[in-house]
Subunit: 754 residues, 2 copies
């Protein structure tokens, strides 16, 4: 897909020759900072590993978790690797079929595989540290909560830094290898495979992990708490280790892959849009997103380092302080980068601020809907007093209300950052105002993601503290220690909920960016084909019309929205089926070994882990394949049969030898992507926030409201919490990833739809 | 909005002068058939009223229901009338503000008020008969089930026929009064007010009725069945009459208004598209939709008349037979109409068949997802054995799966009917292929609605038999009678579920039709303004690009999807709040009058009815206002501030004095309409089918599966059923109406967005 405009590029080169050489430095700077990020991650990891690793009893439990998690990850990544290789072959063949795309087949496949590998590597590394940080957090909690918080956050920081650094180094290195310095406008298009590889791994990691974690959780709860009447995390429950493993593979590995995908897709998408601005900024506009990621790394390292907590302080205060420091540093870095790279166009800083403010507001809105001190959760707790039905109805009503404010925020952010983009580039005459505005929205996305590493550290903090609490519980530590880990665990639950808000916010903004990149890609493919056939594009023609009034586009839109529902349905059912296998196994273990319940013999934790591993991996395949296959099918079908459906006269239409170019496939896929994204965002918010609110309504009652534990209201609230679990931990987060996968898969497959 | 193309019209008139006079006959034929429909309704009503009206005890109960329903309707329509008058004033002022729209202010307001009045009248008439048919059905059930079925169906037929006939007569008369014979291309645009009036009344009727029925139902169940442990429809429950009233005002009046809106909106929309085909078909193309409605009336009268049921037969067999007869007659009528009016273009019959087949498939898919003999309902019943949480999870998973097949059916129907449209008009050179295809989809919509009167009769059959069952139960009739009414009630539940599938199917198809009408309207407004300013439209320009890549359009799309979620959340919460008032009142009555539970004194049914009436009417205002206000605000905001956001160069753009016409408002509203429709269709399917499946899963268990009544599984299934109630009877059906309201409100307000 080499579609650059050689004339403009040459003109720019001639004018700015001296500057261009300097600009290479920016790439080296970004790559260097990526390495610094990895080194910092290494130092944090060493700090964590050198801490006290607790009693042998605690180690026994921690080792069981570690082994389970590692066994799952190994099998999961083997499955994903097979799917990725199969897709790589399909991609290669698909690209080889047409003479237009054949020259890019190798590059696309290589970048796809490297993207997939980097994503897998960052997931693995994060996991590796997290399952070692949990026991050290638990051990530290015996003496100091401040120290425990530090270990947990530093463990999380390893994930955050590795994810962002690997994404930066991966994209930067590919840009270099594919000859970005000599063909700067062409190479960004060749990096789309990287984003697709990352998305594919992320989808399966999130789906598999999400199914695993909730199947184990629901299964363990149903047989343990409900049937056998033993408390959570009781060592007599054969599924308890599987449950703790789930926290790692679902929350930690899944979210890591999710954010990796966000930063990778955003980098590539923003570089493509930067290529469109080549006449204005040259190489700097293309490298700007990488520099922003470098700033993100530095700001997050500082942010993590400043977090210190006094013993009696709410852990959230300390974590929030780090977040504010990171955001502030990122903002300063942003301003400096705009000064040096984008010619001090301060309106563009306004776009960046839009992004930063959006991420703040998303986090705050999520807080409002999911925390016990606000009305929504309280209304669910209140509704629990009249039974499970009213609890569910109220929870769903709250969930359906949650998209309203975020949609208004996103709308305002898009409109404002677009406007700032047009103002910031008002003096430029070589590009149209649409490209200017869209670059503004891209900068807003970069702003939003400029604290991603810290956010991810906070997020991974959640499963680490959750596990630490489990280890403390299972190893019979004194009550005073449990109080500390409970506090940390509560903070971890909050950070998990908030970062989900952040993830969906960044997915929404990034979606628009990637959609624009898709349009740019299609435009350039059409340009190349028409030019190759000796024709010229009609004056003023852009592939920026995705016309909802055209039947294929409307059908694509319908199918895109439907995909999000079907996908969610499949994910939720998968949890149910996988949970059944857990329940069966636990029943069997109880029956065959009565000593388990008497506490005289240990259950076979490993068997349960193996069973849920197998079930989760089996279940993740179908929804995952659906997500990839549907855009492909829609694009190919309308490519072949869509010619009948052109709206209106084919006025001003690109022609090859007098025959209009059939754009139906590309248009239908664009609508599928866009409306699928809108529907997916709303559904994900419904499920994430509804699930979070149910969870905390239960917790609110457990603190004594409406009769406290063991009251009828509590029973009703437990029902809501159980319903919310697959919502907020499987289907919701998988939808984030689906949205981004749709964006990257359409980018990569675009040439096949034309 | 007088935007016809005088040249083409004059040419056509000159060529076809002799034929044109003949064509007037079609309007008289349609109006005459409308009158026949009303006469038939009168005859059916007389037949029902002349039947035995049962024992005094039964009449006492029936009178209480009647009084409650009439009191509700009276207060509801007073509230709606005030809102309608307020809106009429706003409309009038809005239209008077600009010199372009001022000439049409009177016509729009008059047609708006007539549409609202016809809708209210048809709702009232249907109700009037239904609340008299229920007691006569109950009385007949004491001797003959066949006779009872007939009375219930004939009672329902009154609603069906009145709704379709009034819609036909209303649109036809306005066409005549506004001078349709002399300005045939201009007048259809002036009828949009009629559709808007109908939608507005429908929205509030459905919302108010839906909130009432479920608030009374949930309230009565929670205090009666759950707290006091008395059976359903027990006369000791003070809310029992309110519950029975609810069946009438929610299901019966609500669905009547819904289908009235469908046929009205479809008539007007199809006439607008017919106006675009004036060069081909002349007046006939414009009057064709009215003739199809006339066919609908005749076919449905015959269909209702042939229904006879043997005593031991499943009532559904007899009802289905009538449906098949109606569909077949409608098909034949369709063919005849195409032969005489559309020049025997048989491809267009293909489009009509697409619509008829779509309605069949929608009904069958709904059946699959909501009936006990199929897997989805069985899986929910199975999941109930592990408690309410798994019941809810499975129900939601089923609900989320339900849109998949209908979306594929709608997609295929749109593509095929579009294709048939282009084939059927292939020889016509004066209009572009898009207009041909869109006319094909319009014919599919007409096909789908060509059995609407019969469907509506079947639908209203539901609440009549439901009420009859309640009357039998409350008046202590022998068990053998209860068995008969139970059978009828079961058939009524099925027809209610199936017609909901039909309603959403027709809403989806009609949405595309109305969207096309909106685009045609905007195009003509722009044409008029540019021409008035002395300019000319660029060659080939059509307002058929609603560009998802443009930020205002994307924001409009996001807001449209969000609206459906927020609206649903509000509707569901409204039920909860209104139910609370019922519960409080019943508690109070039990406390103040202990004789009620001992059966020694009667509760104050009327007080409960009054309380829930007040609560439901208060609750319906906010979501209703939101639905009207949101498109208005989006259109006005982007009209004023949208100029910054044009994508690309303004190539080929309509200009007035060198300034590009600002289309952002019209485009953003188009996206709001379209994506709001997509999101609304999917959400409505989730809620309707999920709710229906939960309901029948409970019934399946009650027939003995998984332990039968009073088992733990049954308790869990009751939770699911209660959650499903506000889904399937309040939020879901209100979403149907919302979708069509969005379409008509945008049509009417279009001139204000430019």
């Amino acid at each position: 897909m080499a579609f650059f405009v050689p004339v403009a590029a040459a003109a720019w080169q001639a004018e700015n020759g001296a500057m261009a050489a300097n600009d290479h430095l920016y790439l080296w700077l970004a790559l260097g900072t990526g390495v610094i990020g990895l080194v910092a991650a290494l130092l944090f990891a060493r700090g964590v590993l050198s801490s006290d690793a607790g009693t042998p009893e605690m180690q026994r439990i921690s080792n069981a978790i570690r082994e389970g998690a590692e066994a799952f990850m190994k099998r999961q990544y083997s499955t994903i690797a097979m799917i990725a290789i199969a897709l790589a072959i399909v991609l290669f063949i698909g690209y080889r079929l047409s003479s237009f795309t054949a020259p890019y087949a190798n590059k696309v496949v290589v970048s796809f595989l490297i993207g997939a590998a980097c994503s897998a590597l960052s997931g693995q590394t994060g996991m590796w540290v997290s399952i070692r940080a949990n026991i050290r957090t638990a051990a530290a909690a015996r003496t100091s909560m401040g120290q425990a918080l530090k270990i947990a956050l530093h463990g999380g920081a390893v994930t955050g830094l590795v994810v962002v650094a690997l994404s930066l180094i991966g994209v930067g290195t590919l840009f270099l290898l594919f000859g970005g310095f000599s063909n700067p406008q062409q190479v960004p298009y060749q990096l789309v495979g990287f984003g697709f590889g990352a998305s594919l791994v992320a989808l399966f990691a999130q789906l598999g992990g999400g199914i695993y974690t909730k199947a184990a959780d629901v299964g363990a709860d149903l047989v343990g708490k409900v049937e056998a009447g033993i408390p959570e995390d009781d060592p007599r429950n054969p599924a308890v280790i599987a449950d703790l493993v789930g926290d790692n593979v679902g929350d930690c590995a899944g979210r890591g892959a999710d954010i990796f995908e966000s930063t990778a897709a955003e980098n590539v998408g923003a570089m493509i849009l930067g290529a469109a601005l080549y006449p204005v900024f040259g190489l700097r506009g293309i490298l700007f997103p990488l520099i922003v990621q470098a700033i993100n790394l530095i700001a997050s390292i500082v942010g993590v380092s400043v977090v210190h907590s006094r013993e009696d302080e709410d852990p959230m205060h300390a974590l929030n302080k780090g977040y504010y420091v990171t955001s502030l540093l990122a903002l300063v870095g942003f301003a400096v980068a705009i000064y040096f790279m984008l010619g001090a166009r301060w309106w563009l800083l306004g776009s960046g601020i839009c992004g930063i403010v959006t991420s703040f507001l998303f986090v705050r809105i999520t807080e409002y809907y999911t925390e016990t001190r606000f009305k929504p959760v309280q209304s669910i707790a209140q509704a629990s007093t009249t039974g499970p039905a009213t609890n569910i109805i109220q929870g769903l009503a709250v969930g359906m209300e949650t998209p309203a404010l975020p949609v208004i925020v996103i709308s305002a952010a898009l409109l404002l950052s677009y406007y700032f983009g047009t103002r910031g580039l008002a003096d430029v005459t070589t590009i149209n105002s649409y490209a200017k505005g869209i670059y503004g929205t891209a900068i807003a996305t970069m702003g939003m993601l400029s604290s991603a590493a810290y956010i991810l550290a906070m997020d991974t903090f959640g499963p680490i503290t959750d596990n630490a609490g489990g280890i403390i519980e299972m190893s019979d530590q004194p009550h005073s220690v449990r109080v500390k880990t409970d506090k940390l665990d509560a903070a971890g639950n909050t950070t998990k909920a908030l970062t989900k808000g952040y993830a969906i916010g960044s997915a929404s903004l990034a979606a628009f960016l990637l959609f624009s990149a898709y349009l740019a890609t299609v435009h350039d493919i059409v340009h190349q084909r028409v030019t190759a056939a000796g024709g010229v594009l009609p004056e003023g023609w852009t592939f920026s019309n995705v016309n909802l009034a055209s039947v294929p586009v409307f059908v694509g839109a319908l199918l895109g929205a439907m995909l999000t529902y079907l996908f969610s349905s499949m994910a939720i059912r998968a949890v149910g089926r996988a949970a059944q296998t857990v329940i069966q196994d636990v029943h069997e273990q109880f029956r065959n070994n009565p000593g388990i319940m008497q506490g005289t013999s240990l259950p076979d934790y490993g068997r349960c882990v193996r069973i849920v591993t197998g079930a989760a991996l089996k279940e993740m395949v179908l929804p995952g394949v659906l997500a990839v296959a549907m855009p492909l099918c829609v694009g190919l079908i309308f490519r072949h049969f869509g010619g009948e459906f052109y709206p209106g006269a084919l006025h001003n239409w690109p022609m090859i030898n007098g025959v209009p170019v059939n754009l139906s496939g590309a248009e239908a896929v664009a609508a599928l992507l866009m409306v699928g994204t809108i529907s997916g965002i709303l559904l994900a918010m419904l499920m994430n926030n509804g699930g979070g609110a149910w969870d905390n309504a239960k917790k609110l009652i457990e603190t004594g409201a409406h009769g406290g534990k063991r009251s009828e209201a509590h029973k009703a609230a437990v029902v809501g919490d159980t319903v919310g679990d697959p919502f907020k931990d499987t289907a919701g987060p998988s939808l984030h990833v689906l949205i981004k996968l749709l964006a990257t898969v359409t980018l990569v497959l675009a040439p096949l739809f034309l």
